[in-house]
Amino acid sequence: MINLQNTSETINHLLRTFRLLQKVGRKHPEVRKHEILFYQLLEKYFTRILNAREEGNFIATHTTFMPGEILYAMDIVPMQTEWTSWILALFTKRGTDFISEGRRLGLTNEVCSAQRGIAGAFSLGTLPRPDAVIWSNLICNNIAKNGELIMEINRCPGFFLDHPLGDSAAERNYLRGEIEDMIHFLEEQTGRKMDWDHLSDSVAGTMKQIEISRQICELRKAVPSPFHPQEFMEMLTVTYLFQGQPEATEYLEMLYEDLSLSVSEGRGAVSPERFRVMSIFLSPIYRAPFLEKFSQEHGMVSVAEPIFTQWEEGKLDPTRPLDSLVQKLYMLPERSLYSPVGERTLKKIVDCAKEYKADGAIAYADVACQHTCALIKLFKDVLNDIDVPLLILDCDLVDQTVTSEEDMREKLEQFLELLEDR
């Protein structure tokens, strides 16, 4: 564990690491351009957080599926709770500290470790104190119920954005009202007015990013598939942290170009490509290097993550930014975990397996995540119907003590043997 005393020391450590990774990347021609850009963007994101106080900027901490376009349009420094905490934990090896501190605050093991760790990170003062907390119930109880504790720890005001369950006109209208109320809240807190032109630009940026993401998904259908496991987490990170911003567009365009080149040259992410798998839910973030290595060793490639990379159909209209943000929240791939899971979601899983020619699927069963684990049986049954085996891999998204690398390796190898025997 790295002994870092305070917020600025911790973030400065992080920034040095990001700079080093960029430097190393530039020296190695095999490192693709978008990977270097990824660390450059992380450096930019954390620098903004680090300097916010000194520059007199307002920091709003927000949960994953809040429309970040609003914060950028109001020149508020966004600090996304989940990704900021866990990137920080990953690079400083303080994850266990964060989780333990969350436990001390009264969050028992039933609360997912990601949310326990976030509360812990704030409580330990590792994250800078925000000026406001904005959070929502998208996509689970743990996210919804952690907001008031984060407000209390930071002694700051907050706004809870309530997502309705369904997709009716009344529910969409309610969500629009919630977003409007959140803007009013932020205007009151910051003393600034919403810059609607900026918001429209951000919405246009988001639409562009959705389009590129869809094109990237198309490229991943190629045999061999060009997309590396670590690129999944990187892509999520950039699009979560820079919603609608030119930075995310630049990253996605660069990723698309790199992948296009691979496809045109017939190069896959792994060589030879032996197993095409579909990933359901999130793999443990700390095992990304392992998964990359394992994939290379065994010729396994993840071709799709239906719940995280497959946007629902639809378009955004920058001239109607609020309606578009509502539309975006309904198009979010992850929303399929929140809405009633019925025939539509099941069809998406099945179609994805077929279209991407998946030999098998892996469900990363985060032992502390109720709403994803409760779907495994449903997904397994529909995948069985089309003869796609499903591996259920118990793990924890952020807590390294739950599953060892050896366990994961053993189960994955057994699964690949099963696929090979078919």
Partner: protein, 390 residues
């Protein structure tokens, strides 16, 4: 001349509720309702307005799963072990045919486990009626509008399903019946404010459970009979050591409460959704207001579940109950993996302790009657409370 209330008459009145629980679901009320060709619907969670189902001629039955702790084989296989044992218990009973008498189910988007239970129920247990209500998680005027729209949809869906038009008059009639029930329960619960209450916390849970499983009209008759015949000089607790409040998740097994009371803990109040929180607020229809509007307001504003944000209202009501019933301590029983209540526990504990009310926190499985470990902890808690009083 009517006989004066005695302990015997009290027991007889209580036995009527016990009979319903003992026979469920083969009770004469359900069988008769079905025989008449009427519908029986299951409802899940206190944010589903029973009055609307009642107004559609439906017999609403609460889905409560097994009344005892089970080995949730199917529950685990379908919902996974990290979902609360309440949802797994309900699903397992459903998968095993225990709810085959239902014509449908209605639920609310109240928590992750409830949402997933409804998803799986819809997929694996075929019922001809299925309805999911979006329940806002806050109390703003916009939230009230959305909830009103949601229960309007529910009303229309039910009308189509039953072929019975749900009118303002029928809703008003249902409100009257359900409000009567609330009034009677309030009278009954208020008896527990006495130094030596004539009714136990365990008996209260038995009564509540029966109320979820029978027509409200009959339940009201049973309650009136009990209130008439209850012997107020009856000391339900022979060895009371401390007045307690129960707080936390859903609780179905009265034996859990009984086990606390056998150790000398007087369970005089609670904020459980299977007890106080279920009936607490009346439906008040304002002038020039539709009954549906009044139902909507009451259900969203009612004594809140831990899911609601902000939590201030829930904390205030818990504090008021604790003060009103003069409790010495509180026992928090949280069903394992019930996330909303787990998140709120530290806030509840802090608030009650600031009032001088210690809290014992128990992590339980739904349906548990108790265990040696629980008994030991309750025993130690009671000793601590006694020590504090000295």
């Amino acid at each position: 001349m009517k006989p004066a209330p005695t302990a015997d008459l009290t027991s007889q009145a209580l036995d009527r509720f016990r009979e319903v629980n003992g026979l469920f679901p083969e009770t004469s009320h359900i069988l008769e309702h079905k025989r008449q060709g009427k519908k029986v619907l299951g409802w899940l969670c206190t944010y589903v307005p029973e009055e609307i189902m009642h107004a559609a001629g439906v017999l609403p039955i609460r889905i409560t799963g097994y009344s005892h702790e089970i080995k949730p084989d199917e529950g685990n296989a379908y919902l996974y072990v990290n979902n609360c044992s309440f949802s797994r218990s309900c699903l397992q009973l459903g998968l095993r045919g225990g709810y085959d008498f239902l014509d449908g189910i209605a639920g609310g988007s109240t928590c992750d486990c409830a949402r997933r239970l409804m998803d799986l129920w819809h997929h694996y247990i075929a019922t001809s009626f299925y309805h999911m209500i979006t329940v806002p998680q806050k109390y703003s005027s916009k939230a009230h509008e959305l909830y009103y729209e949601q229960i309007t949809q529910f009303t229309q869906h039910l009308s189509e399903f039953t072929g019975i038009e749900i009118t303002d008059a029928s809703l008003s009639h249902s409100i009257q019946i359900y409000n009567e029930s609330r009034e009677l329960l309030r009278k009954l619960y208020d008896l527990r404010k006495a130094n030596n209450p004539p009714i136990t916390g365990s008996e209260i849970i038995e009564i509540s459970n029966a109320g979820f499983r029978m027509p409200k009209e009959t339940f009201n008759e049973y309650l009136k009979n009990l209130l008439t015949n209850i012997d107020t000089s009856r000391h339900a607790y022979s060895n009371s050591r401390a007045r307690l409040m129960l707080t936390g998740s859903i609780l179905g097994n009265h034996e859990f409460v009984e086990s606390i009371e056998q150790l000398g803990g007087l369970v005089v109040t609670d904020d459980l959704c299977t007890s106080t929180r279920h009936w607490y607020d009346m439906i008040e229809v304002n002038q020039d207001e539709s009954p549906l509007r009044a139902i909507s307001r009451r259900y969203l504003n009612n004594f809140p579940c831990a899911r609601m944000i902000p939590h201030d209202e829930r904390l205030k009501r818990i504090r008021d109950l604790a003060q009103g019933f003069r409790v010495d301590g509180a026992i928090s029983q949280i069903v394992h993996n019930c996330t909303p209540y787990t998140h709120e526990l530290s806030f509840v504990t802090k608030m009650l302790e600031a009032q001088g009310i210690p809290v014992l926190s128990l992590d339980v499985e739904y349906g548990t009657a108790s265990s040696g470990q629980i008994q030991t902890r309750v025993q130690a808690f009671l000793e601590m409370l006694e020590g504090k009083r000295r």
